[in-house]
């Protein structure tokens, strides 16, 4: 009896294990394997034998000052994007609960449209809007000839805006659903006790939305840390003299454009470990504050 109970869950898990193993574990194993090999175009085409190089790809990576500066820029850029996305998404979610039906529908449709635009088209449209000579924005403000991509920080800010524009709808919709699920009586009680919108958001909604927020935060961190399309399209592959490189674009440049697949895989592994660590720390912090996810 106990034996049977011991095995039944395993059988039931089998389909999931097969799918996850095929789609995630095997590629991850391959990524790890590549990262300890000398693997360039010559090896892919079979011109030269592959060679085990141990940690060489990693030591070369950590010894490269460029890698550290790109990593630093990626962390700061991703953090700024996550915060901005959450702030915009949450603010608009609260707004959705307080406006009339027509306005709500309009806002939702506009957000859905932004969400539905493919990243490449969206980035290209933003570039048109902010074009140096012919861009709508520059003509509106009468600053034709101003190149937004010239300065490192304006370039990052512009790309960040495009990222937030494309990712806030997910946050907004998820949080809106969460807020709608909060019993009206709780909010009513709070407002009877004299809590304003600001206070009831922080004291009532945020604690009750914690599980939803956790998912939204983790999703945003993963998305924004791995940002590729917007940077690649809008800064033409990393900006002036590579000033706007993020880790994913850097990995692409190192791995695919330069045919150093082993080195690119090493960057991929580092990126995965960082994301795993961030997620675990965040989940642990949630657990400590008494929430189960």
């Amino acid at each position: 009896m106990t034996l049977r109970r011991g095995f039944t869950p395993l059988w039931l898990l089998l389909p999931a294990v097969v799918v996850l193993g095929g789609l995630f574990l095997y590629p991850m194993y391959q990524l790890g394997l590549l990262s300890v090999l000398d693997f360039t175009q010559a090896q892919v085409s079979g011109g030269q034998p592959t060679r085990f190089v141990g940690a060489e790809n990693y030591t070369r990576l950590t010894g490269d000052p460029r890698f550290w500066s790109v990593l630093g820029a990626t962390v700061v850029f991703a953090a700024a994007c996550v915060l901005a996305t959450l702030a915009v998404g949450a603010a608009l979610a609260v707004l959705l609960t307080r406006i009339g039906r027509v306005a709500r529908l309009t806002l939702s449709l506009a957000a859905m449209a932004a969400w539905a635009v493919p990243a490449v088209s969206g980035s290209t449209t933003w570039m048109f809007l902010f074009d140096t000579d012919l861009g709508f924005v520059n003509q509106l403000f009468g600053i034709e000839g101003y190149n937004w991509m010239y300065d490192r920080y304006t370039a990052f800010a512009l790309v960040g805006a495009a990222v937030v524009w494309a990712s806030f709808p997910f946050v907004m919709v998820t949080l809106y659903a969460g807020i709608e699920a909060i019993p009206k009586s709780v909010l009513e009680a709070a407002s009877l006790d004299g809590a304003g919108p600001w206070r009831s958001f922080w004291r009532i909604m945020v604690p009750m939305l914690r599980p939803v927020l956790a998912i939204v935060v983790i999703q945003s961190i993963i998305w924004d840390f791995k940002i590729f399309t917007q940077i690649y399209v809008m800064t033409r592959g990393g900006g002036l003299a590579g000033q706007n490189l993020t880790l994913n674009v850097y990995a692409y440049q190192q791995a695919f454009a330069s045919s150093e697949y082993g080195r690119g895989a090493a960057i991929g592994v580092v990126m995965m470990l960082i994301l795993l660590a961030v997620t675990l720390v965040y989940l642990r912090a949630l657990r400590r504050s008494g929430e189960q996810l």
């Binding site: 175009q41 010559a42 011109g47 990393g238 002036l240 590579g242 330069s258 045919s259």
Partner: protein
């Protein structure tokens, strides 16, 4: 390994005795593959492609008329992403094209990857093959194996606007120093214009400055190289072409600037003629060789050009060889010159053109004065695709690094890539 040795020995044997051989070292179907079906061809997309497309269409019509039951599946691939496309084709034989156009600088990388078929036998069996100039032939040869048929060569020279020069009383510059003062004079008298269009990503525009001063790509941090690089980056400044607008320009963008009349001079290739003639600069420009350091000298130009090759993975190598030799024939080389201004590689076609068109003179003079090439090393592709030189130029032009710092950094990356 053993197979490689045999291939290498075969290739060496072929080039050593020069005798036509019936055996091919190509890894593709030994019998030449099917003689019918769709032949897959990749050609480069270029600014203002229409005239090229028209000539190629004509060649395709002639080819399909002579080869029953064949079609030509033609794709124009973007030059910027060619590296990815080619690597994809090397890795996945099923999606590989048969005939490809490729830049001669990419040859060592593709050759080292083992992606291109040996064309020694094809060219010796082709009537017009003997007419290929030896320098053109050498530019398509890697470690003794002929891996392409040079389709055209291209060199860059100085285009300038004759109407503006007359109006301002200027003469075409005779030295590089004069070039920079002329450019600044134009900008100060006509603030809407750039004196000379230059760009941070325009490596082939910058290299003649380095070479003219005695510098080398493999010693980019030598005193001579630095002098040359500084002369170029000093042009990316408010008094000629402001960094805000010019620091990230590619060579193609400088062509647009000159053609659209935004720049009074540009370092453009003979192959850019069609693009310039499509703009407002048409009929109002002339070309001289890019001057060197001393009056009367010519700055060494980069000997660019494209080859036609057959992929090792090609499914129809025999048909591919027929199409390639047709496209590379004197007839179509001459047509491509008329359409795009591409300099032919067949001596007969070249002589015919020099006799009837004075436009090519400055370019032929530049070739006669001696041209330079990038290092014939598979590592060059890596230097190119990880943007080592543009990053170096952009860092100096935007003031992020001094010439010394930027060249030291680039030299380190170049050494690393070439010695690996």
């Amino acid at each position: 390994m053993k197979k490689r040795l045999i291939v290498l020995a075969l290739a060496l044997g072929l080039s050593a005795c020069g005798a036509p051989s019936t055996s091919s070292s190509s890894g593709a179907a030994a019998d030449g593959g099917p003689r019918t079906g769709a032949l897959k061809v990749w050609l480069f997309d270029e600014p203002n492609r229409a005239p090229k497309e028209a000539v190629v269409k004509e060649a395709v019509a002639e080819f399909t008329a002579a080869h029953p039951d064949t079609t030509v599946d033609l794709q124009y691939i973007a030059v910027d992403t060619r590296s990815e496309r080619f690597k994809g084709a090397f890795n996945d034989p099923a999606s590989a094209p048969d005939v490809v156009e490729y830049g001669n600088t990419d040859l060592p990388e593709y050759a080292a990857a083992g992606g291109l078929a040996d064309l020694g036998a094809t060219v010796s069996g082709w009537a017009e093959g003997a007419d290929l100039s030896s320098s053109a032939r050498a530019s398509a040869t890697y470690e003794g194996t002929l891996l392409g048929v040079p389709w055209y060569v291209g060199v860059r020279a100085l285009y300038y606007r004759t109407d503006l020069f007359t109006e301002l009383g200027l003469k075409p510059p005779a030295t590089l120093a004069e070039l920079s003062t002329t450019a600044k004079t134009i900008r100060s008298r006509k603030p809407d214009l750039y004196g000379i269009a230059v760009g941070g990503k325009y490596t082939y525009g910058a290299m003649p400055f380095v070479w003219a001063n005695g510098g080398e790509l493999t010693a980019i941090n030598s005193a001579q190289s630095r002098t040359g690089l500084k002369a170029y980056t000093d042009l990316i400044a408010a008094d000629n072409c402001p960094p805000q607008n010019c620091a990230d320009l590619t060579g193609g963008k400088t062509v647009e600037l000159f053609a659209s009349g935004k720049a009074a001079m540009g370092i453009l290739g003979n192959f850019n003629r069609a693009a310039v003639d499509a703009g407002v600069a048409k009929g109002r420009y002339a070309v001289v060789p890019l001057p060197g350091v001393t009056a009367g000298s010519i700055a060494p130009a980069f000997a660019g050009g494209n080859n036609l090759g057959i992929m090792k993975n090609a499914q129809r190598p025999a048909l591919a060889a027929d199409f390639l030799t047709l496209l590379a024939s004197k007839k179509y080389q001459a047509k491509m010159y008329d359409a795009m201004g591409n300099l032919p590689t067949l001596k007969a076609a070249s002589a015919e053109i020099a006799a009837k068109d004075t436009f090519v003179k400055p370019f032929l003079d530049t070739i006669d004065a001696g041209t330079k090439f990038v290092p014939l090393d598979p590592g060059w592709g890596k230097i190119d695709s990880s943007a080592v030189l543009p990053t170096m130029i952009e860092k100096v032009a935007t003031g992020k690094a001094t010439v010394d710092q930027a060249t030291d950094e680039a030299a380190k990356q170049i050494d690393e890539a070439l010695t690996k």
